[in-house]
Amino acid sequence: MGDIGTFLAMGGYAGFVWSAYAIALAILGGLSVYSWRRYRDSIAALERLQQDLGRRR
């Protein structure tokens, strides 16, 4: 530990270690963002529909 350069170098395996963490973050983070957006969309669509139906009556 201590200096940031040594930390980033990962003992010479920087490419492998950081790629592994980047892939995990991209896949799991991406799925989380996608699931969250789709959840918000589903709420908005349902509310819009309920308002439309309320107006028709």
């Binding site: 930390f7 492998f16 270690v17 592994a20 963490y21 995990a24 799925l31 589903s42 669509a45 139906l53």
Partner: protein, 258 residues
């Protein structure tokens, strides 16, 4: 317990409170786990810093297996008792399981290259996990393949149950065959054989991944229930029967998308 939870209205009420709670806990646990794994944990005496890949690779592998088991149990419940939530749960969980499996395969490849000298070998462990990934993809494709969601659900459930055979094959592949992949060092008879300084961040990351799965599962189930409710409202209100073709099209597009 399952019976009690199988009420969609009750699930919506409980999960509304559980999602933010679980989500923030997952974020905190994963932050601690990442700091521990990348900074605090020592490099391995043989593998150097590549051992840090373990802290995402192994929890992802555990989740890949656990989520598949979850999908299979949900499928069994859906087939036998026709619980309305079981099928929703299986469909919601499968893409998350596929994501964990992909992370496991990709990080394993990045670990294998410096340590074994190969990105990929057709070894029993690696091949059976690749099959698990294809089982997930097959399940996802199958449940979405039918216009009638309940038929797709049944076909997918059967595939999920048949695929359970693969789980013990994955688990014991390292004992049954002479593979390049190392045998279990945490979940083994006689207790873990790994230093506490590495076991602690590993278990914290695993807990974080499990919490992440719980949040995503609830979010995706809530999404599916919202979408089903919207479709039911549309059908009941007679929008589906409206003569205007673009309305009719909207409904059929929604039937196709689960």
């Amino acid at each position: 317990m399952i019976n009690w939870l199988a009420n969609p209205a009750r699930f919506m009420r409980l999960s509304a409170r559980a999602v933010p709670w679980c989500g923030w806990t997952a974020a905190v646990v994963l932050a601690i786990g990442l700091f521990w794994a990348l900074v605090v944990a020592p490099p391995d005496y043989q593998q150097g810093d590549t051992v840090r890949i373990m802290y995402v690779h192994v929890p992802a592998a555990w989740m890949a297996l656990s989520v598949y088991l979850f999908v299979a149990v949900a499928s069994a419940v859906a087939l036998v008792w026709r619980h309305p939530l079981a099928e929703v749960a299986g469909r919601a969980a499968a893409p998350v399981g596929a994501a964990f499996t992909f992370v496991c395969l990709a990080t394993g490849s990045l670990w294998g290259r410096p340590m074994w000298g190969a990105w990929w070998v057709w070894d029993a462990r690696l091949t059976s996990v690749l099959i698990l990934f294809f089982l997930y993809l097959g399940y996802i494709a199958l449940v979405n393949a039918f216009d009638d969601p309940s038929r797709g659900g049944r076909a997918g459930a059967v595939l999920a149950l048949v695929g359970v055979v693969n789980l013990p094959i994955i688990k014991f592949s390292v004992d049954w065959w002479n593979t390049l992949h190392q045998p279990a060092s945490v979940m083994r008879v006689g207790g873990p054989r790994i230093a506490v300084s590495m076991l602690a961040p590993l278990l914290i990351m695993a807990f974080g991944f499990a919490l992440l799965f719980a949040v995503l599962l609830m979010l995706r189930m809530r999404t599916a229930l919202n979408e089903r409710k919207a479709m039911a409202l549309r059908l009941n209100s007679g929008i589906a029967a409206a003569p205007r073709p673009e309305r009719a099209q909207t409904v059929s597009a929604h039937t196709a998308v689960p």
